[in-house]
Amino acid sequence: MLRLIKCEFWKLKRKRFVQLVVAAAFLFPIPLTYLCMHWPTIQAHCSTQAEVFDMMWQSVLGYGIQLLLPCILGIVAALLFFSERDNDTFKSLRTVPVSSTALVLAKVAMLFLFSTIFCVASTLVSVGCGLVAFEVQGIGYKLWMSIKMGVYITAGTLPLVAIVVFFSKSYIFSILLCVFYSVLNDVGTFVMGALPKAIVYLLPVPLTTLWGATDMQQHMAIGDADDLRAFAGLVPSEATVILILTGMAVISVAIMALLYKRRGE
């Protein structure tokens, strides 16, 4: 398995999107820093510069990791999963022999690695900005939280990846699917009070938002504590989150393995 993952890394050599993923980690922290520095409401809301930074980092988590990451993952997944089909290397791998399940698992592992890299980079960039503009507290918690969030979001995005693999269409089509999925998730987050609990829990972003906001409230200043109280009955425990996401991930991986096996013929 480790060999397969190693080989997945080798296959990425000279591919530009790896750099792009890291660059995407800069996308939100920098403008958000600027906003937080100059937006009077935020400045008025927070009593210390550390609180401003906390809010800024939360927005990075919300936009960068919850909104952008599923899109990035979908695209990276398309690149990873289409590579054997596009390059006609499936037959060479199958005759090694590498099983299609192992191949799918290696690629899913790559997705988790990517999201971790992205989340760590996001937080580090935020911290960098924070050190310049505000005061920074609790780096350890923020790193840990962002990694967890990244892993959860990735697990929750695997159904999307399964859909991308199922259609196995062009890259454009896959990207559209990802954007659609992201928007769906965000709309879900906005209207989650009105949705049945089952649906909220099946969409990774609302699910992790609920849990994440509550968790963060216990560790740092949070902007919309009152909002949160309205959802008190809906908030899942971390164990529930892990359980749901693991279930989704396992089912998605099983479907992908099946699809990959059939495609291989």
Partner: protein
Amino acid sequence: MNEMIVETTNLTKCYGAQKSVEALNIHVRRGRIYGLLGRNGAGKTTTMKMLLGLTKATAGEAKIFGKPIGTSEREILPHVGSLIESPGFYPNLTGTENLKIFAELRRIKKKDAIQNALELVGLPYRDKKLYAQYSLGMKQRLAIALAVMHNPDLLILDEPINGLDPIGIAEVRAFIRELCDAQGKTILISSHILPEIALLADDIGIIDKGRLLEEESLAALEEKNGKYIRFLVSDAAKAAQVLLQTFKTQNFKVENNHTLRLLDTTLPVAAINRCFVENGIDVSDAHVFEDTLEDYFKKVTGGVGIA
């Protein structure tokens, strides 16, 4: 040594209603080069894919090294090298990097395995050129290098000389021969080019429309298609009578009213000629023909008839 390395029994593959391979029984013996010969769409690639477990057989079974391919894939495949249809590699990597990936997956310990394989096919080691920039022949060479890199006992090569120039073809032919003769490898090779197979193979299987029409050693095939004498006569039926009565042979064929083909070439042509004339049969031509394998191939696969 008559040990079977590849053996299929009634191997069949259907794509929908179409039978791409039907009740195929091929036998590849240890240390031999087996040429699978067939026209486009005959089912060569499909057969090889089934042997490698790349596609499931609809019916029948295939054994490699005496083990059924369906259940013993993990024991069989590490000892098999293969090249199926066009080569497939990662375009953003160099040839060496591509091979490195597969060497890693195959757990090849030998450090110079990649270098040796590349040298064998005449590609530079640690070249900077990306696979995307390779020429057709270079891609094919890299695919052959991949097939032989892990020193397999059995090689399954689907049209390995595709896209190679004449010198490349001769090189590949020489090293396939060498692999077989010097290292005792067993090789299953497919082609639609008969002279290529005739130059290389020890045994030949002719496949057409998914069915195996002939399976024979090259020597036997050549013998079978040896010389014959074609007579153009005024009355072929009468000439046949003469041959039967005077020369006591049945080893001939009447092709039409005026053409007779004598397969027994040991008989004296001049005497037969004289005898025909004495019996009032005009002989306008008597000619020794040698059927080439090519003609034979065309004949059995229902291609354009022989001259």
